[in-house]
């Protein structure tokens, strides 16, 4: 029974992806394009050569961080829609450290800078958390407001105090994360992301604190009854969630973009929420789905370039993946469908 359950958990997203591609193909054919050729470009763009593959990993890295941030908050039953703001604030803190502490060098500067990103992200996550538990404010609206403020604040930084010469952008950071795979842009950030995913997995599912956190997410009243510090746990999960996103922003700054400019971090927060939910709120699933999104993104560029189809086709496919995957897993979880599936598998077992 359990293996059957696991099979469905994996089969549903896979089917959803296939179905989305099918609808995408119909859409492409509708406007007179050639779906086979389009998808060929898509895969060429994602896996055509080592540097293409590298791009998918580079694109996946920030998505893993924001996906994990969303997962962690969700597990404790709070909605962190502010990952984008925390991501941006993490990067802002890193820029501040990188341009201020010029006495430090190389690795030590990098470490201090990443840590400052963690702290800034955590602090930005603390605000909706503390307002929720003390003032009863809805965390979604607070974190959305904070997104706007963070983005405007970043704009202020790169046009004002940290502006570098001619352009509305900051100077490039000097301490960069190491690139270690051939001439690809893959940087050490991906290792940080993967390690973090494993640590979170362990924490959530194999420690007592993690259990308490999940318990709050499942049933607040029961957790309160059991004497768990519900409010404290909620605040904690918001801070950690923010810290993860902040680290993501800092990593993106030190590994890929090197400087802040308009559009930094755009959309990563909301993509992270979608990724977390398709990944079944499991850190490992989050990593897999983040990579899928990155493949779509990286491939989309080549597909658009190769065929001249609008990139919105890929946005549509990406949205369909979300729609189908989440609908699929909700569908198999419907009480009578679950019953039906259980019957089906037990019948099969009898036959064997």
């Amino acid at each position: 029974m359990k293996s059957n359950n696991k099979f469905i958990k994996i089969a549903v997203p896979v089917l959803a992806v296939l179905l989305s591609f099918l609808v995408g193909a119909i859409l492409i054919a509708c406007i007179g394009g050639n779906p086979a050729q389009a998808y060929q470009y898509l895969f060429k763009g994602a896996f055509g050569n080592l540097s293409n593959f590298g791009e998918t990993v580079v694109k996946a890295t920030p998505l893993i961080f924001t996906g994990l941030a969303a997962t962690f908050a969700y597990k404790c039953g709070v909605f962190n829609l502010g990952a984008e703001g925390q991501f941006v604030m993490g990067a802002c803190a890193s820029i501040f450290v990188s341009t201020t502490f010029t006495g430090l060098n190389g690795v030590s500067l990098l470490i201090v800078s990443l840590l400052s990103g963690v702290i800034a992200g955590g602090a930005w996550g603390y605000i909706p958390g503390i307002l929720k538990i003390t003032r009863g404010l809805n965390e979604m609206i607070v974190s959305i407001m904070l997104n706007y403020i963070a983005i405007l604040f970043m704009g202020f930084l790169y046009t004002g105090p940290f502006r570098d010469g001619n352009l509305p952008q900051t100077a490039a950071v000097t301490a960069k994360l190491a690139r270690f795979v051939g001439n690809t842009r893959i940087h050490a950030g991906i290792i940080l992301a993967l390690v973090l995913a494993l640590v979170l997995y362990y924490f959530l599912f194999y420690t007592s604190k993690g259990f308490q956190l999940r318990a709050v997410g499942l049933n607040q009243t029961a957790s309160q009854f059991n004497g768990y510090p519900v409010k404290k746990l909620m605040l904690l999960s918001f801070i950690i969630s923010g810290a993860i996103a902040g680290l993501g922003g800092s990593v993106e700054l030190h590994g890929t973009q090197f400087r802040l400019m308009a559009g930094f971090g755009d959309g990563y927060g909301f993509d992270g929420v979608a990724i977390a939910l398709i990944g079944q709120l499991n850190p490992v699933g989050t990593v897999v789905v983040a990579y899928l999104f990155a493949v779509l993104r990286a491939g989309a560029t080549t597909m658009q370039v190769g065929t001249g189809l609008p990139t919105s086709v890929i946005d549509i496919i990406q949205a369909l993946v979300i729609i189908f995957a989440v609908a699929g897993s909700a569908f198999v979880n419907l009480p009578h469908i679950r019953q039906f599936l259980a019957n089906l598998s037990s019948k099969k077992a009898e036959e064997v």
Partner: protein, 347 residues
């Protein structure tokens, strides 16, 4: 249960109609696309005639839309016009975010494009990074300040553009209040604003300049609101903008008032559309600038230079005037433009 089934069917039907509705509308409009394809075929044929063995391809990336009625549209049209002249095939990607600049450039380079056009200095980093990895591909950077073996910067003179707009605004303003809307605080935008102000004050010392940034190139509603507030709060009567779609919004606001005008850029707005608001345009001939790059690509001499766009080489020019500009002001203005050209306008 029955009710639930009904609701399910209804929702399905809704979704179905959504999809069929979409597909039928695409069918009816797909004709447009095909006609455009056939229209571009002659270009390809010409290419084959002129250069039998190589097909030159040019691509443009853009962070706004190419249908924004402003910057993106002007740059795209410029590339298409130049490509027609020199027999290049064209392709574009718009609506990019900063994280995707580099990967989009890479894709074009991978697919054998000979020239890639990046219309703005915000692409500088991405161009420099990708150009280093693809020495055989040529990159043209508009408003850029870098030169390399395979990078050429195209630099329309922001100061002259600002002077031209400012001089006209100064001559036309009756309220002594003129406005400026920027999209982002780009360096070229700031330069345009500064010289706009200087020129207007040189023409009319009583002029006050009111400026605002929309923090967007696409929020035309905000453009409308800013223009409205400039007119009502500061009695601004001539405006100039550097913010793509936001400018279109501003023009809409001005259209609701009598005697409020806008100066267009970078294409000659009045040559293609009628408007009661636009009095003239400061025209940047990006097509010629890109054309020069294409010539170099074909001749194999591309790289290591900056092509300046200014009044002297004709890549900056005065656009069509509307009837709102009296003949004597036109002559007065054209004299000033000559001074700007000679560099004697503001010392």
């Amino acid at each position: 249960m029955k009710q639930k089934f009904m609701a399910l069917m209804m929702a399905l039907a809704m979704v179905m109609t959504a999809f069929t509705g979409c597909s039928s509308s695409t069918e009816s409009t797909s004709k447009d696309t095909t006609t455009e394809n056939t229209a571009s075929e002659p270009t390809a044929a010409e290419t084959e005639e002129s250069t039998p063995d190589t097909v030159y391809k040019v691509a443009m990336i853009c962070d706004s839309s190419i249908a924004d009625g402003g910057w993106g549209a002007a740059c795209y049209n410029a590339m298409v016009a130049a490509a027609e002249k020199y027999g290049f095939e064209t392709q574009y990607t718009d609506g990019l975010t900063s994280a995707d600049f580099a990967s989009s450039l890479r894709s074009y380079a991978d697919l054998g494009f000979s020239l890639i056009f990046a219309p703005g200095n915000q692409y500088t980093d991405a161009v420099v990074e990708v150009a280093a990895d693809y020495p055989e591909v040529s990159f043209a950077l508009l408003n850029g300040t870098v030169e390399a073996d395979n990078i050429v910067s195209l630099l329309p003179d922001a100061e002259q553009i600002g002077y031209m707009a400012g001089a006209l605004a100064g001559l036309m303003s009756k309220t002594n209040q003129i406005g400026f809307i920027g999209g982002m605080e780009l360096d070229t935008t700031k330069a345009k604003l500064a010289s706009y102000e200087a020129a207007a004050k040189a023409v009319n010392p009583n002029i006050q300049v009111v400026s605002a940034y929309a923090n967007s190139f696409s929020d035309s509603a905000k453009g409308k609101e800013i223009a409205d507030s400039m007119v009502t709060a500061s009695d601004v009567d001539v405006m100039f903008g550097d913010a793509s779609a936001v400018d279109s919004g501003a023009r809409e606001a001005l259209a609701n008032y009598e005697g409020r005008y806008d100066i267009g850029q970078p294409s000659d707005l009045l040559a293609t559309q009628e408007s009661a608001v636009v009095i003239s345009s400061v025209v940047t001939d990006n097509a010629t600038l890109i054309g020069l790059c294409m010539e170099d690509v074909k001749a194999g001499t591309f790289g290591n230079k900056t092509i300046y766009g200014n009044l002297s080489n004709g890549t900056l020019s005065v656009g069509t005037f509307s009837d709102a500009v009296p003949a004597e002001i036109q002559t007065q203005y054209l004299e000033l433009v000559d001074k700007i050209k000679e560099g004697t306008f503001i010392q």
